[in-house]
């Protein structure tokens, strides 16, 4: 049963690791990996000497951390909220509505935001027609982080509740009944039963999320890069795309990608250590 999954993992996750070699080369596609000249750490030297790379790293960390803080609690809150709705039909309806944006592509999500909040969008045309000051939302570099975070919340929060809902269903209903008999109100029941029941899953998701901090998303920033300028919207993935792929400088792009992976690994390792330190399971039980 697991063979197809393992084969997929090998073919699409492990085999491509071979391509990391190109980060240490002056890779030239027609010459191939075997005939390209070796560069040692030259690509990394170039990368670290490029102020644009550091700008991209700074943006990535900033956007990633803000998203972590603002986005992470929302699916948990939504899951708790949904769990408290008794009517199954209402619950299914709400769940479907909040799920739906997950299946939209980023192009569509950003177009919807532009049509609603853009300079020529519904909001600003309304303001204009009433001779009110227009509100620059989609092209303002200063508030870009809030814009992209709200896009992520709108698109992904509904999808994010799946894991938490599953964890909630595993909480023994007897505990709630016993607590209710003992006179515990809804808030106390949530605090003493629901949240402890979710804790392991929350910590696991947090560790995974920290590991993915540097993967803030590619398309979302690629599409909106021109709207606020590269100084604000350049993240490591778009940097690798513009300075690696589109200029044919594949080795530099590979070096940027490898750097990102190493830092992500360190983050996930650190977060896991921290979880263990506080007596949690983290990614695995010690």
């Amino acid at each position: 049963m697991v063979v197809p999954a393992i084969v997929l993992l090998l073919v699409f996750n492990y085999a491509p690791l071979f391509g990391l070699l190109t980060a240490f080369q002056y890779y030239d596609p027609p010459a191939g990996v075997w005939n390209s000249d070796w560069a040692g750490f030259d690509q990394f030297r170039l990368l670290f000497a490029d102020p644009l790379f550091w700008g991209a790293l700074r943006n990535t960390l900033y956007l990633g951390l803000v998203q972590l803080v603002l986005f992470f609690p929302i699916p948990i809150a939504l899951a708790l909220l949904l769990n408290s709705v008794l009517s199954v039909r209402v619950r299914n309806f709400i769940q479907s509505v909040v799920y739906l944006p997950h299946f939209f592509s980023w192009v569509l999500v950003i177009t919807i935001f532009q049509q609603m909040l853009g300079g020529a969008g519904a909001l600003n045309q309304f303001l204009r027609s009433h001779d009110l000051q227009t509100w620059d939302i989609t092209t303002n570099p200063g508030t870009f982080v809030l814009l992209v975070t709200s896009q992520v919340v709108w698109k992904e929060a509904g999808w994010g509740i799946v894991v938490f809902l599953a964890a909630l269903s595993a909480v023994n209903p007897g505990l709630y009944e016993a607590a209710a008999v003992d006179g515990a109100g809804p808030f106390r029941r949530m605090w003493h039963i629901t949240l402890p029941g979710l804790r392991t899953v929350i910590v696991l998701m947090l560790v995974l999320r920290l590991g993915g901090t540097l993967s803030v998303g590619f398309e979302q920033f690629l599409i909106q890069r021109d709207a606020v300028g590269h100084e604000t919207a350049e993240v490591l993935d778009t940097y690798a795309f513009y300075y690696g792929i589109t200029t044919g400088d594949y080795s530099l792009g590979a070096a940027a990608g490898l750097f990102k992976s190493v830092i992500s690994l360190l983050l996930i390792w650190g977060a896991n250590k921290l979880a263990h330190f506080f007596g949690e399971d983290g990614l695995y039980r010690r």
Binding site: Y26, P30, D37, Q114, A120, N124, T139, D226, T247, G248
Partner: protein, 553 residues
């Protein structure tokens, strides 16, 4: 059918990456370009043919520029130019980029074409938007198909200079000088177009859509709306005129803005070259020219004044056509390929009065003579694999000869419209696509492998043909051959980042969107020159191209 979408995309793209289009090659390969004598020996002879007399004949301008001949009707008597079937039953695979919906494999049009060509040519169109990432994987694996189209603006990324002779077949022995006369339709393609497919003094590429009027693009306007307000394009004779027009046309409250992005198509008005120029015998990059920053300043002021559509500022360019068709934007830049039948159909569907017009070229100061750089004679070149045997190459060249049959011939009709009664029907002398024709017959398949020199023809929309031909005729005298025109320069890969100058181009875009000041672009240029490789690039171009081969003008 969207016969001209390709032209539009590639002209626009070529304009965006002019230098990339001019250079290719890797460090391991002998860098440089073609030598004058070597090139002369490799290029084929030119034997013009014009079986159908154009309704609006070509007009010659300076520097070898000429307008495309225009046809107002489609010939009813379609003469054959190829005897029998060109193929001898071989089986081949061809890959072309396609911007649009890929037709299903093995469809009735492909089958009819295979029958007409006498070969089994398996067409594998690939997504044009990802083409620059698809091809390097094929070359890295040495798995190029038998026949592939490589647009010139990706020459550097594909390293066509390096592929020539290692993975692409040398066609010199088959086509040089008078040998091409074996293929009369190929011989009718002008020499300049063949030059765009020549590498290291040998001939490799087969050109499509060659033209003597290839430019980066034009600044278009909604002629119907402007004329209704009593404004004609001829009234705009300077950058100030255009700015004033922007003020007059913008009515944000009604959701109408004067401009979409025009930078790429308007900056030549300040006499800024596409990339390089030579002044007093010295090479100079456009980033080093004061007029480059004057042009930027104009665009910056225009955006700050609020004449640029907010969606353009937000980089939402996918729906730029919709804005233009719906009259939310009245002035827009684009490749001249946009001026076609499909555009007319889409425009009139949105607004029955829709009529596209373009401003005549003008100099920003309003007094100098306007100058616009010619692009390479074509941006669409196909290549054959060097794994093919000589008789297979000859068979495919015969197929290419069929595909390059001139406008109005029986072969041209087959390649562009399919089989009469199945893929198209003649309505009032106009070939009109049937449902099958719309689905299966794509201009970005067979004509992307080989096609005759470009003509202006929009069956059923004479107004488009007349307008575009008149505009070409009015502007052909402004065209000039820029330095390094049509020279295929192979450059070391280590300079590709410097030549793309992504950091400067980002700053430029921020500036013409009104976000950053011109001084910040100047700072980005200084950084590019010193640590971004700009100075190295100029040294290399001076030492390896200018000093050795001259300007090629």
């Amino acid at each position: 059918m969207r016969p001209e979408l390709n032209r539009r995309s590639f002209v626009a793209l070529a304009a965006a990456t002019p230098l990339l289009a001019a250079c290719g090659g890797a460090a391991r390969q002998k860098a440089g370009t073609n030598s004058r004598a070597g090139l002369q020996a490799a290029l084929p002879s030119h034997v013009p043919s014009s079986p159908v007399k154009p309704d609006i004949p070509s007009v010659a301008g300076g520097a070898g520029a000429a307008t495309d001949p225009a046809f107002l009707s489609y010939p009813s008597n379609q003469a054959a130019t190829v005897q029998g079937t060109p193929g001898r039953g071989g089986s081949y695979t061809a890959v072309t980029p396609l911007w649009g919906t890929v037709p299903p494999a093995g469809n009735s049009f492909y089958e009819a074409m295979n029958k007409a060509l006498g070969v089994t040519l398996t067409m594998k169109p690939a997504d044009g938007n990802n083409y620059n990432t698809i091809v390097p994987t094929m070359t890295a694996a040495r798995r190029l198909p038998d026949w592939i189209q490589l647009p010139t603006w990706w020459n550097a990324i594909f390293d066509v200079g390096g592929l020539a002779g290692t993975q692409l077949a040398d066609l010199t022995p088959y086509l040089a000088a008078d040998k091409i006369k074996k293929y009369p339709n190929l011989a009718a393609i002008p020499t300049g177009a063949w030059q765009t497919g020549a590498w290291g003094d040998k001939l490799y590429g087969i050109p499509s859509f060659s033209s003597s009027f290839v430019i980066a693009g034009a600044v278009f306007h909604r002629r119907d709306i402007l004329e209704a307000r009593g404004i004609t394009a001829g009234q705009v004779r300077s950058a100030d005129d255009l700015m004033n027009l922007g003020k007059e046309l913008t009515d944000a409250k009604r959701g109408v803005w004067a401009f979409d992005d025009v930078w790429t198509y308007l900056f030549p008005a300040w006499d800024v070259p596409l990339t390089w120029d030579v002044r007093d015998g010295r090479l100079i990059h456009k980033y080093e020219m004061p007029q480059f920053f004057e042009a930027l300043d104009w665009h910056h002021r225009m955006a700050r004044a609020g004449y640029l559509h907010p969606d353009a500022v937000a980089g939402q360019n996918a729906n730029a056509d919709t804005r233009f068709y719906s009259g939310k934007v009245l002035i827009s830049g684009g490749g001249t390929g946009a001026w076609n039948l499909t555009d007319h159909q889409s425009g009139t569907a949105a607004d029955k009065d829709y009529r596209r017009g373009a401003f005549d070229f003008f100099a920003a100061d309003g007094t100098s003579a306007p100058r616009v750089a010619m692009g390479p004679s074509t941006n669409v070149i196909s290549y054959l694999s060097d794994r093919l045997k000589p008789d297979q190459i000859e068979e495919l060249l015969a197929v290419a000869d069929y595909l390059a049959a001139p406008f109005g011939s029986a072969e041209y009709t087959m390649v562009n419209f399919g089989v009469e009664g199945v893929h198209f029907t003649m309505k009032d002398g106009v070939p009109t696509a049937t449902e099958d024709g719309k689905k299966f017959v794509q201009a970005m398949t067979f004509p992307f492998l080989a096609s005759p020199p470009a003509v202006i023809s929009n069956p059923g929309a004479g107004v488009v043909t007349r307008d575009y031909a008149a505009w070409q005729a009015a502007n052909v005298k402004s065209l000039y051959k820029p330095v390094f025109w049509n020279m295929n320069i192979s450059m070391p890969r280590s300079l590709s980042g410097a030549s793309a100058a992504q950091a400067v181009e980002d700053a430029v875009k921020d500036c013409y969107h009104g976000r950053t000041k011109v001084s910040e672009v100047q700072a980005a240029v200084s950084t590019w020159k010193t640590s971004g490789g700009g100075d190295r690039l100029k040294q290399w171009m001076t030492g390896n191209v200018l000093d050795k081969y001259g300007t090629g003008q």
